[in-house]
């Protein structure tokens, strides 16, 4: 009998020209932006304490290079710790949320409650309670980052086609193997969507924490340098923070592509 293969769903290879423009155009746009910025600052002699020119941001930041590197590492540590703890907290929470309606309605109010408290307001209180160290910073980061992750993982766990759950029941499979072999793999695209949001929020959370309580970190650097009108350094810290956010985001994207190629393939099909 004859079986016709479906057209192979090979990931659409972009022609080299398109790939080039995907990299080159944004790069050119960025360069143009900074050139324009530099030009405006020089032409109109904008004072450096208002908006510094890119060249001055560069020289001032490089001048205290080792210190900036230390601050960057401190922030990165808080971000990664907070992001890691968010994952560890969110996965079991999402499983609990989807386990039964009773459990869900017990946990849900607390989740919403943690989200309705302004984290900036909570930070000083946490410092008093937890001490002036890394712990309150990580806690703030987690509080900022974990919620979208819980929600997207829970959504993913519920996205399994009901027929597959019936099949699982028909196989007399345990709840555990249903979770492990069906629900979790099905949730992978949702989990990664949540991770992408969470990693960006973790950067926000770490900086918020550093504003309130830190003796190092890029958030601390921004607060102290603006206090002394060293605005170029503050701008430098801002740029480093945005680069950190983009790089961490891309790492999550790459991890998904490498370890769960079917997940990003799904996302491509559905988008």
């Amino acid at each position: 009998m004859s079986v016709q293969a479906a057209p192979p769903l090979e990931r659409r290879r972009k022609p080299p020209a398109a790939a080039l423009s995907e990299v080159v155009v944004p790069l050119l746009a960025t360069v143009a932006f900074f050139v324009l910025w530099e030009g405006i600052c020089r032409t109109f002699s904008v004072p450096a304490y208002l908006v510094p020119a890119p060249s001055q941001i560069w020289t001032d930041t490089i001048a205290i290079g080792p210190a900036v590197l230390g601050h960057t590492m401190a922030t990165l540590k808080t971000v990664l710790l907070g992001f890691g703890v968010s994952i560890v907290v969110s996965l079991p929470l999402a499983v609990l949320l989807t386990a039964s309606p009773a459990v869900a309605s017990t946990i849900y109010p607390f989740l919403v409650w943690t989200q309705s408290i302004p984290k900036v307001a909570l930070a000083p209180v946490l410092v008093v309670a937890l001490g002036s160290n890394e712990l309150p910073r990580v806690v703030i980061t987690v509080l900022v980052a974990f919620f979208p992750l819980v929600i997207s993982v829970a959504t993913g766990l519920m996205s399994v086609p009901p027929e597959l759950l019936e099949l699982s029941r028909a196989c007399r499979a345990s709840k555990w193997s249903e979770l492990w072999r069906i629900r979790l793999p099905f949730a992978i695209p949702f989990i990664f969507a949540g991770l992408k949001v969470a990693v960006s929020l973790a950067v926000v959370g770490a900086v918020v924490a550093e504003f309130v309580n830190a003796d190092s970190g890029l958030g601390f650097l921004i607060v102290t340098s603006t206090a002394f009108f060293r605005v170029p350094v503050a701008f430098g810290a801002l740029i480093i923070l945005s680069i950190m956010g983009v790089v961490l985001f891309q790492i999550v994207v790459i991890v998904e592509r490498v370890f769960f190629p079917w997940s990003s393939a799904n996302a491509q099909v559905s988008s």
């Binding site: 293969a5 192979p8 019936e166 099949l167 193997s177 072999r181």
Partner: protein, 260 residues
């Protein structure tokens, strides 16, 4: 083999009403018999299938297999749904092996069994492909392999070809007849297609909605092996005409109406 004795199933709908999905259904099905269930939407065909599968329990009456009342899913039943619902991350081979994994019944012979089934449905060479690389018909073939891999004696099919195009659908119908003749099983097959129901079945259960009940069970005396050439057969014609009468009533049945 399968015995339904005055089976009634009532569901509580969301607004608090009670919906009678199945009312007083009694039928006895022999081993290796091919039964098709036809009827309009909402006549309880899928409910009946799920009762036999042990996924839901009757509200009243008893359902039993081989004299044993069905209280929970039994491992000797295979199920095929309308959508293939394959695991997107697993290869064809792993999808077929999936029920054995879930039942912790995987052993050294499993891969050979699965390969034999994949060959039986004509998908040799596709073992390592992922479901996204297959057409809808091919995916449904994989789903059939998945339902057969633990060598069940009962196969439940809930509109398995409903999502396929008409040509693939006929091809799959013949395919299923061939598989069934090679590996006889008791089959309960839900469909909306009258010609499909008649070509496949030893007996066709015609059901009516609100509440779902069996209107008539029609014996199809068309000799096997069958194909769609039997559509010219007088017995085929009689059976289809009778089913159409039962579903639509006399007035809709014109002499020249094609089987749908």
């Amino acid at each position: 083999m399968i015995l339904l004795d005055h089976v009634t199933r009532v569901f509580n709908s969301r607004d608090g009403d009670q919906v009678v999905a199945l009312k007083d259904v009694s039928v006895s099905i022999d081993a290796n018999e091919f039964i098709t269930l036809v009827g309009p939407s909402g006549c309880g065909k899928s409910t009946l299938l799920r009762i036999v599968a042990g996924l839901i329990l009757p509200t009243m009456g008893t359902a039993s297999i081989g004299g044993v009342p069905i209280r929970e899913p039994r491992s000797e039943t295979g199920i095929v749904f309308q959508a293939p619902t394959l695991l997107p991350w697993a290869s064809v081979m792993d999808n077929v092996l999936f029920p054995l994994r879930m039942m912790h019944r995987i052993d050294s012979t499993s891969a050979d069994k699965a390969a034999a089934l994949i060959k039986l449905v004509g998908l040799s060479g596709f073992e390592r492909k992922s479901p996204q690389e297959l057409s809808g018909g091919m995916q449904q073939r994989v789903a059939i392999c998945r339902a057969l891999v633990h060598d069940p004696d009962i196969l439940l099919m809930d509109e398995p070809f409903g999502a396929l195009d008409a040509l693939t659908r006929e091809e799959m119908t013949l395919e299923l007849l061939r598989i069934w003749s090679e590996r006889p099983k008791t089959v309960l097959f839900v469909t909306h297609s009258i010609s499909e129901a008649v070509v496949l079945a030893d007996r066709v259960m015609v059901m009516s909605p609100r509440p779902g009940r069996i209107v008539e069970i029609i014996e199809v005396n068309v000799p096997r092996p069958r194909g769609f050439h039997v559509e010219g057969d007088a017995a085929f014609h009689d059976a289809s005409r009778r089913i159409r009468e039962l579903i639509f009533g006399e007035r809709h049945v014109g002499p020249g109406r094609a089987a749908a």
